[in-house]
């Protein structure tokens, strides 16, 4: 598992945007959960999933019956 330094402070000797492994963190006496929770590192190799957008089926327009606005009956206008 790889992590990226996201804080402005050095973590395990790495600066912001540099990557480190779980072993790097453990050998430096760090705790992965703590560093994640306190905003020092973020998981690096999690692929960003963009949901596929499906094209909505084209609905055929139905013929709308015309109603007489006065007596609400279908008929001639």
């Amino acid at each position: 598992m790889e992590y990226t330094v996201i804080s402005n402070t050095k973590v395990c000797g790495k600066v912001k945007d540099e990557k480190l492994t779980k072993d790097d963190i453990l050998s430096a006496g760090g705790n992965v959960e703590f560093l994640l929770a306190s905003g020092h590192i973020a998981a690096a190799n999690v692929a960003r999933v963009t949901p596929a957008v499906k094209e909505a089926p084209v609905r055929q327009q139905e013929e709308v019956p015309v109603f007489n606005s006065v007596n609400n009956e279908q008929g001639e206008i």
Partner: protein, 144 residues
């Protein structure tokens, strides 16, 4: 041997480098002194031991570290790093000069109990600081 003016001490707490927010560091070790005076020693029978003098040996060592922090509430800075560690044991390393450990720049590594914290301390117009003394659990490992 050159004297050293401290300007660039490296301090990492839980693998996070907080050197740029620490103004003072004191790493100390004190041994208990255990008295071993016995009748035979007081009698002067044991070589160089003077008459009626107490004898002692070193007992358990008590290590502690003291820091003066400049408080900072920014994301992933001092408060965000130390506050979650309160009441836990954290790995700490201290080097006289930021860089690689060597014979002239030894690294001291230890585990400290984060037993106290002062999130807010200071008077009007003063810098917000936090002075803490944390007891060390276990030995201090010196790497050269």
């Amino acid at each position: 041997m050159a004297r050293l003016v401290l300007t660039n001490v490296e301090v990492t707490i839980g693998a996070v480098d907080l050197s740029n927010h620490i103004a003072s560091v004191t790493l100390g070790s004190t041994y208990d002194v255990v008295e071993t005076t016995a009748f035979a020693g007081v009698s002067g029978a044991a070589g160089n031991v003077p008459l009626a003098a107490k004898t002692r040996v070193a007992g358990l060592v008590d290590n502690s570290v003291t820091f003066e922090f400049h408080q900072d509430f920014d994301a992933s800075s001092v408060e965000a790093t130390i506050y979650p560690l309160l009441g836990t044991v954290a790995a700490i390393t201290v080097l006289p000069v930021n860089g690689a450990a060597s014979a002239t720049n030894p690294s001291y590594a230890f585990n400290a109990v984060i037993s106290e914290w002062t999130p807010l301390n200071g008077a009007v117009g003063e810098l917000a600081t936090a002075s803490v003394t944390w007891p060390i659990t276990g030995p201090v490992t010196k790497t050269v």
